[in-house]
């Protein structure tokens, strides 16, 4: 699709704000976000630390609810959804990749993926998902036996194995060197192309932006910049 065809918006947000209140202190993490994300799109989100990227991603993923404004996924109103509906939404549509991998230490790579496929509607084989990220031969290792990059790839396999409609990645390469980071990004790119998953990748690394259909920059809780890449770069050509 590459952003050329007039695709349908899957996400729509309007005047989205999020305020954290902690005792006396109020932190305005988001101050009015209006955004549309389209089916099959790969979006990279940039922004200074504290600009509200993770907050936005959490709200899109149904982990958190906004303080005000609207957010919809297709015809699901995430603003007014209750806990049960949000759980349903996450289970059926969303895959997450977290900055700190967050694998379950007592489960092997395969079992970590199975923990998700077991409750998904039409998942891939856990083995196939791990093969996709190049870990076919490490399936029975525990997280503590894997390197940081390998752990992050297991986390990606876990996220894509359920064949989510949206894949939300919070600094998936944050802790990785460039070569490993590229492997991880390639896996995400492949999943996006092959399954048409709407993908959002948060990063601090501007060079990653070249693999995106669209790049959105947040600063101080607002969208400060937004542009389309004329062509998506193959992540394998990136380096930093």
């Amino acid at each position: 699709m590459n952003g050329l065809s007039p695709a349908l918006p899957v996400f729509q947000t309007r005047d989205l704000t999020k305020t954290y209140r902690q005792g006396e202190v109020e932190v305005q993490a988001l101050r009015g976000i209006g955004l549309e994300l389209f089916t099959g799109e790969l979006v990279v989100m940039l922004g200074a630390s504290g600009s509200g990227k993770s907050t936005l991603l959490n709200i899109l993923g149904g982990l958190d609810v906004p303080t005000s404004g609207e957010v919809n996924y297709q015809d699901i109103d995430l603003t007014r959804a209750n806990d049960r509906e949000l759980t349903r939404y996450r289970r059926d549509y969303v895959g997450f990749v977290f900055q700190f991998y967050n694998l379950i230490p007592s489960l092997t790579a395969r079992e970590n993926v199975m923990a998700v496929t077991e409750i998904a509607r039409s998942p891939m084989d856990p083995e196939a998902a791990l093969a996709l990220v190049g870990l076919a031969n490490r399936m029975d290792h525990f997280p503590a036996q894997l390197s940081g990059g390998e752990q992050q790839r297991v986390a990606i396999a876990r996220a894509i194995a359920k064949r989510p409609k949206v894949l939300l990645c919070d600094e998936p390469t944050g802790a990785l060197d460039s070569a490993t980071g590229v492997l991880v990004l390639a896996a995400l790119d492949k999943a996006n192309r092959e399954t048409g998953t709407t993908t959002v990748i948060i990063t601090h690394n501007a060079s990653i932006a070249q693999m995106a259909d669209r790049v959105i920059t947040l600063s101080d809780g607002k969208i400060s910049k937004e542009y389309h890449n004329p062509t998506r770069q193959d992540p394998r050509t990136l380096s930093w």
Partner: protein
């Protein structure tokens, strides 16, 4: 395809349980302790109750009992005519001294007649071996099992009996048990003494002539139709038998053997409630702490699971399973241990409760209820933590737990005069910062201490009770209960016998004490005002002087009758001229064994309208000459029973004390397990929480021992605070138990010796040392890289 494929979460559960198996087992054992104590008591309670009920029913145990001076047999027809009486059995009873070959101590026996038909209509005999005495044979006797066992009597063995002053040779033809003598205690004694007291059954035609009771009876037992109130029958019976010297009929509730068995059963019931409650409380507390901490270390996992669409319910169920697995493990271990111990203890009871056999009973409904309760209690223990996990907002869970706002605490400022090393500073700061958690840990240590104390204080309390009774209170070596009163002048004769140092007489009568609707049938003892041998003492073991007028009551009895000093009590003496008196309660006494009422001997002789007579003789013997005295006593007429102090003491340790101490030993052992469970978990959790800090310190160059100092120092502080608090808790719980377990037979005083306190502290400290060592060992092998690699 495997038959059963575990889900990933089940795999997680299994691995984590295995990884924390030490901690989990420690908690499971605490639960097992509660379950075992409960089952142990329940099994004994239900088995003894079922056995007794079956025995009573099968062997026609009577419902009303009465002793008479002498009534003609034709009076039985009048008895039968009393409305409600369904069966009756008039018997001849008597006392004898026995000579058992090879045994020199005086032995007394109760003799009971059997009708010509063999088995009586009521209080039928269970034949263990042999047969009943033949109606025509005056030299045959059936002997109660306790006595036969104590002397290894076999069928065909011979005994000499001195009945009413006449020597008679008896052959043992049967060894029997009777529902009337399940708990066999000599008259005048409080404790069983199987060697020196027995019950013998002889044919009516043999016993009646020996007792001058031909054509008469002096003991009557009845059964009553269930539609007729027993007190009504007793009333009529008393009126009917008064001319024949009836001493007042009484119901089962006042029958000696039945009454003590009842007490024992009630005590079991109490134990089955108190101890499991304590144990389960501790287990719940532990689960609360352990599961709470476990879950707090898994916040990020909970978050990921939620992010991927696991529902609150699934998360809650996952952690509930953890708790339930622990609970079920505890339940299974506890059930097995409880049934086994219950059975073993039941067999011990059989040593001094003479039943034909023990019916091992435990209701499946109780087991089911126990299982449900255990699982519920365990789940409730973990509930707070489980609910917190389930309710954790998924985005929240991605952040490290809680606002870890370190600050220089008040405690630290207060202690600023100490120059802390950095590790010590970490200890103080951690304890003060997590104040709630510290309080929980200190409470845990305190509970551990208290539980050990509760199991243990009874050992020293019971020893003290017995020591007090037999050394401080009963100074006589020997107490002789006579069948009929003798003049006090006879005492001087006795005192001159070789081997006798000192004698003192007492007058004991059966009386009913009445205050409104409260009644108590007991012995009323007349004590000479200058008594030197058996004192009555108050709760501080000081002598209580015998008031010239009025009664002294055992405090337990005063409480049952709801009277206090100054109140008046109706006294119905059930012997002799059967005077009815109204006497003031002059004071209370605090014997630990038995209950009694006392008054001045001279005053008693006056109300009994008799001269200066006594029917119980207390003696002190010249050391080494006991056998001479025993020899003389064998041939003495009118001796109903002889209680030898040393023998009672021995028999106490042999019988009652054995079960009691076995029980408390089991409790102490379980207490020790709990103590270990609490301490071990406290240390392990603190290790788990601090692993990262400690690894960081190690990386910075602190030595293994310096780092261990942090965990062990923390533990030391918990002990210093927890153990004294535990002593306090223990004292409170113990006093609760002591109050709940008071019976007519004995009342264990609340004595906390230094030994008990020290033992409790030691168990806790040793648990701490072992746990500390395990920790030290773990820290030695701490994989620095692995710890630092995992995300906090």
């Amino acid at each position: 395809m495997p038959f059963f494929r575990a889900s990933a979460l089940q795999t997680k559960l299994r691995r984590e349980l295995w990884q924390m198996r030490g901690q989990m087992l420690a908690i499971a054992l605490v639960i097992a302790g509660g379950v075992a104590v409960f089952l142990l008591s329940l099994v004994n309670y239900s088995s003894l109750t079922a056995t007794r009920n079956q025995y009573y029913q099968d062997y026609q145990f009577a419902e009303v009992f009465v002793t008479i001076k002498r009534a003609p047999r034709h009076a039985l027809q009048q008895v039968a005519a009393i409305p409600g009486v369904t069966r009756q059995s008039g018997r001849v009873e008597g006392a004898a001294t026995l000579e058992v070959p090879g045994f020199s101590d005086p032995v007394s026996a109760r003799l009971v007649s059997l009708p010509a038909t063999g088995q009586p209509a009521l209080n039928r005999l269970y034949l263990r071996y042999g047969r009943l005495p033949a109606a025509s044979r005056s030299d045959e006797a059936a002997v109660i099992g306790s006595f036969a066992d104590a002397h290894d009597l076999m069928l065909g063995d011979r005994l000499d009996a001195i009945i009413n002053g006449r020597r008679q040779s008896l052959t043992v033809v049967g060894i029997v048990e009777s529902p009337e003598f399940i708990y066999v205690i000599p008259p005048g004694g409080m404790l069983p003494d199987f060697k020196r007291y027995g019950v013998l059954w002889m044919a009516q035609d043999a016993l009646a002539p020996a007792m001058d009771m031909v054509g008469a009876f002096n003991s009557l037992v009845l059964q009553v139709d269930s539609s007729v109130p027993i007190p009504a029958v007793i009333d009529q019976l008393d009126r009917l038998l008064a001319p024949y010297g009836g001493t007042g009929a009484y119901a089962r509730a006042d029958q000696f053997s039945h009454r003590f068995l009842n007490d024992e059963l009630n005590q079991l019931k109490t134990m089955a409630t108190i101890f499991p409650t304590i144990f389960m409380g501790v287990a719940m507390f532990l689960l609360n702490v352990v599961v709470g901490r476990l879950i707090s270390t898994q916040r990020d996992i909970v978050a990921v699971l939620k992010a991927f669409g696991y529902s609150n319910r699934q998360i809650g169920w996952h952690y509930s399973q953890l708790v339930l697995v622990i609970a079920i493990t505890g339940l299974l271990i506890g059930t097995a241990a409880g049934l086994w111990l219950g059975r073993a203890l039941g067999e011990l009871y059989m040593d001094y409760y003479r039943f034909p056999g023990l019916l091992f009973r435990v209701s499946p409904w109780w087991l089911l209820l126990l299982a449900v309760l255990t699982l519920m209690v365990a789940w409730l223990g973990g509930w707070r933590a489980i609910r917190q996990a389930a309710a954790l907002p998924p985005a929240e869970a991605m952040r490290p737990e809680g606002p870890a706002r370190y600050r220089v605490t008040v405690t630290e400022r207060l202690l600023s005069w100490i120059r802390f090393t950095q590790p010590s500073r970490m200890i103080v700061r951690q304890l003060a910062r997590r104040l709630g958690r510290t309080v929980l840990s200190v409470t845990g240590v305190a509970m551990a201490t208290a539980v050990v104390m509760v199991g243990n204080f009874q050992l020293s309390s019971v020893s003290l009770m017995v020591h007090t009774q037999f050394a401080r209170v009963q100074k006589q070596d020997l107490a002789i209960t006579l069948t009929d009163p003798v003049s006090q002048a006879a005492l001087f004769g006795m005192a001159r016998q070789p081997g006798v140092r000192y004698t003192e007489g007492r007058r004991v009568v059966v009386a009913e004490l009445v205050n409104g609707h409260r009644k108590w049938r007991t012995a009323l003892t007349g004590i000479p005002s200058d008594a030197k041998l058996q004192f009555v003492v108050d709760e501080h073991l000081n002598d209580v002087p015998i008031p010239p007028a009025g009664l002294l009551l055992t405090d337990f009895l005063a409480a049952r009758l709801a009277v206090s000093p100054g109140d008046h009590l109706q006294v119905r003496v059930l012997e002799g001229p059967r005077p009815r008196l109204s006497l003031p309660v002059a004071g209370v006494t605090s014997e630990f064994l038995g209950v009694s009422a006392y008054m001045d001997l001279a005053a008693m002789n006056r109300v009994m309208r008799e001269g200066p007579v006594v029917n119980q003789v207390l003696m002190n013997l010249t050391p080494g000459q006991a056998d001479t005295v025993y020899q003389d006593l064998r041939d003495a007429p009118r001796v109903m029973a002889i209680n030898i102090r040393q023998a009672m003491l021995d028999s106490f340790y042999d019988t009652l004390a054995k079960t009691f101490l076995t029980y408390t030993f089991i409790i102490s052992l379980l207490g020790g397990i709990i103590a270990f469970g609490v301490i071990y978990n406290t240390v392990r959790i603190s290790l788990a929480e601090r692993g990262r800090d400690l690894a960081s310190l190690r990386v910075l160059g602190y030595s293994h021992n310096e780092v261990s100092h942090i965990i062990l120092g923390e533990l030391a502080i918990l002990l210093v605070l927890g153990v004294p608090l535990g002593w306090f808790f223990g004292q409170a719980i113990a006093s609760l138990i002591v109050t709940a377990m008071q019976t007519e037979l004995y009342r264990v005083p609340l004595i906390m010796t230094d030994k008990t306190l020290a033992l409790a502290a030691n168990v806790v400290i040793i648990s701490a040392l072992v746990s500390g060592f395990i920790t030290w060992w773990r820290l030695r092998n701490l994989d620095l890289v692995a710890v630092l690699k995992t995300r906090e």
